[in-house]
């Protein structure tokens, strides 16, 4: 027996520990302070980067403590678990009591209750109990909320309440945190995050995840038809765009141009514009024309390759500049004509007739640079994300309910006094926003006193 009791008291103590608000405040503050560390020590950087910042000994210590990926370290997760357990225990401890109070409201205003209420007023008036009760019921229904009437040993009690839901705001908020955690766990277990660099014209169906240590087969392929960058007049990038096609069973099933902030989604997998880069060598197009306006051909030049132009010579492209002396894109070409020294000169894209100045049998113009890019796509599937959004919505709703609504209660007690008149007692209470309720109470007080039988 004695042992059973000791066990119970130990259990009791553990339980008391987990339901205490002090633990909640402690865990919250510790979470806040510990989270700072990961913003000072850069997380998940390559080892070389850490070597530049810290000595080998420091790196070993930080690594051992999990501080290079601290938000996923066992002790941080343990803290989150403690936080969640505390949250659940507090709810299990307090919610049933609240439900009980809400379900069985104190509908009679006895002397004990009256003493605990700050807002109480009493007056006397002539009339018959039942008739007065009906009158006040009507009046209170108009001024506040319709009351219910309870008769108890010849005394009539009216009880009305508003904003019961405010008692649940805090639980909605706490529940929302658990829902968000649940969504995050589902996303981590059943989803993936990967990255794909796709060269224009090529496609990908297997996506490396977890920094390349794992792979996910999508079951369909994504092709990058084209990638391009648009610029503002000042040269700053305006938009990165990729023209993507989804190919399933050899057929194109979806095509969309994605931009930053405008992803593509197919079968729960999202593709986000994330980066880009040059893919292999670019080519340039040069037009070869007759100064008399007749004929002409276009040739495509690859870097380091000479190209023969029949009846003229060979040309090759040796340099490109995006903005040559403020004149726009320009191409440096070398022209070799039989029996002549090689000649080197610039062609300007914005001035296609510029090369006429050589007064040769042909003139060249730079038609354009054909760059080949790869597009860098973030690829993600997160089946938990909608649960997270439900949690987030509930959190905002819960906080609003908890802060801006209050459970307001009013009682009226009617009893026959010694002098034959009816004694009226009006009392009120609120769990929040006392000042606002006091004003409301004053008004109801005046209304009730003025009401005609």
């Amino acid at each position: 027996m004695a042992e059973g009791k000791r066990n119970e008291s130990l259990m009791d103590r553990v339980w008391k520990f987990f339901i205490s608000l002090k633990l909640a405040i402690f865990v919250i503050i510790v979470l806040a302070i510990i989270s700072i560390i990961g913003t000072i020590i850069e997380q998940n950087q390559p080892l070389e980067k850490y070597r530049q910042l810290y000595s080998d000994g420091t790196i070993r210590v930080l690594e051992g403590l999990g501080l290079f990926d601290m938000y996923h370290s066992w002790w941080f997760l343990l803290l989150l678990v403690l936080f969640t357990v505390n949250l659940i225990c507090c709810t299990v401890d307090r919610l049933p009591r609240v439900v009980k109070v809400v379900r069985n409201p104190k509908t009679t205003l006895d002397g004990n209750l009256e003493k605990t209420l700050g807002l109480v007023d009493r007056w006397k008036r002539k009339g018959e109990l039942k008739a007065l009760a009906a009158t006040y019921q009507e009046a209170l229904g108009g001024a506040f909320a319709r009351p219910r009437v309870t008769e108890n040993e010849g005394t009539l009690h009216l009880y009305a309440e508003k904003g019961v839901i405010s008692r649940f705001g805090v639980y909605v908020t706490h529940l929302s945190i658990i829902i968000i955690f649940l969504g995050a766990i589902i996303g981590n277990v059943f989803g993936f995050k990967g990255y794909a660099n796709i060269v224009e014209g090529q496609s990908a169906s297997v996506i490396p995840t977890r920094g390349g240590t794992n792979h996910v087969d999508l079951g369909f392929a994504v092709r990058c038809n084209k990638f391009w960058v648009e610029y503002y007049p000042n040269g700053q990038p305006k938009e990165y765009s990729s023209d993507l096609s989804v190919i399933e069973n050899g057929r194109e099933v979806l095509r969309k141009t994605i931009e930053v902030n405008d992803p593509l989604q197919y079968k729960g997998v999202w593709f986000y514009q994330s980066s880009y880069g040059p893919a292999g060598a670019s080519t340039v197009t040069v037009a070869v024309r007759d100064p008399d306006g007749g004929g002409g051909e276009t040739v495509t030049l690859s870097p380091g390759r000479k190209k023969e132009i029949a009846g003229y010579g060979t040309i090759s492209a040796v340099d490109y500049q995006g903005n040559f002396q403020g004149l726009g894109p320009a191409l440096l070409v070398v022209l070799e004509k039989p029996g002549n020294q090689p000649a080197q000169f610039w062609l300007l894209k914005s001035y296609p007739e510029f090369d006429r100045q050589r007064r040769d049998s042909r003139y060249l113009s730079f038609a354009g640079l054909n760059e080949i890019f790869y597009t860098g796509l973030q690829v993600a599937k997160d089946p938990g994300v909608n649960i997270v959004w439900v949690g987030c919505t509930l959190m905002v709703v819960g906080i609003m309910i908890a802060f801006f609504l209050s459970h307001q209660r009013l009682w009226i007690r009617l009893s026959r006094g010694g002098d034959g008149r009816v004694e009226v007692v009006l009392a009120g209470s609120t769990n929040k926003n006392r000042l606002v309720f006091e004003k409301k109470f004053e008004k109801i007080q005046a209304d009730m006193k003025a009401v005609k039988a």
Binding site: A32, Y71, P263
Partner: protein, 279 residues
């Protein structure tokens, strides 16, 4: 640019209003404080016009977007929010002593903005989203509420200390009672907290839409969570015995310092995705 001229006038108005409020406090002249209020109203009008003009000017430049996208714009928007939130509180509580503790925050912010590059730059692709509006506005209403709360918390600590020593008179005699100050610290935070929550959520939703991750523990996100946790601790502390008053006031100040670090410190000191740090 006209908008910058208007913001400069706003800075000046906040400076004059700050002097007015502080002078009124120490000289015990209500009239001077009342003039301060009118100057703040003028500052609200001028800065609102400035934001509108700047917005319109960005459209005229062909790069139209809401003016809250670099350090300069975010600072003036912060000052704008603090001023409006303060005016609402002053009007509700009919007490102008708060002005001496809140309007200097707006003035300091505008002075800091004044030292920064003020030209209108086009938006980088990452910021071109409708989430920008919801995210920035919710965050800044939250920040403004926390600024007001911290200003009141300083008043509370001043008054509580003097009352503890059983001293009467002094500037704190003009302050509202400690009970009202304590309540006001709390009220400002319960306005700020849902907005901060919504700000973090819209930020997460935006990150998810732009990058496919709603939470990546980048320093800005982490610091916003730290701020959120500090105020969550405050809210829980208030329903615990013994945590009213002094401790709550200190938590409010700590919360605002964390807010300032989240807003400015992260960008100026740490690295991350919120790009105005380099500006």
């Amino acid at each position: 640019m006209l908008n910058v001229r208007l913001f400069d006038i706003t800075t000046l108005l906040f400076g004059v209003a700050s002097v007015n409020y502080v002078t009124a406090l120490y000289g015990k002249k209500e009239t001077i404080a009342r003039i301060g209020t009118w100057i703040c109203i003028a500052a609200a009008v001028v800065s609102t016009a400035a934001i509108g003009v700047r917005w319109a000017e960005s459209y005229r430049m062909g790069i139209g977007r809401i003016p809250v996208t670099n350090l300069y714009e975010s600072l003036v928007f912060f000052a704008w929010s603090v001023n409006l939130f303060y005016l609402a509180v002053e009007w509700k509580y009919k007490n102008r002593t708060l002005g001496a503790f809140v309007i200097p925050i707006a003035f300091g912010t505008m002075l800091f903005a004044w030292t920064n590059e003020s030209s209108i730059q086009p938006l980088v692709p990452a910021l071109q989203s409708y989430w920008l509006h919801a995210h920035v506005i919710t965050c800044f209403v939250g920040y403004a509420a926390f600024a007001v709360s911290a200003g009141v918390a300083v008043m509370y600590l001043m008054k509580a200390k003097r009352e503890e020593r059983k001293l009467t008179g002094g500037v704190v005699a003009l302050f509202p009672s400690t009970k009202i100050l304590d309540d006001l610290i709390y009220k400002a935070i319960i306005w700020g907290f849902p907005f901060l929550t919504a700000g973090i959520i819209t930020g997460a939703a935006w990150a998810n839409y732009a990058w496919g991750t709603y939470w990546s523990w980048d320093p800005k996100e982490t610091w916003s969570l730290i701020v959120w946790l500090v105020y969550a601790a405050f809210l829980h502390a208030r329903v615990t015995r013994g945590w009213h008053g002094r401790r709550a006031a200190i938590l409010s100040i700590v919360g605002f310092l964390a807010t300032l670090f989240c807003y400015l410190g992260v960008n100026l000191v740490l690295s991350g995705l919120h790009s105005y740090g380099g500006a």
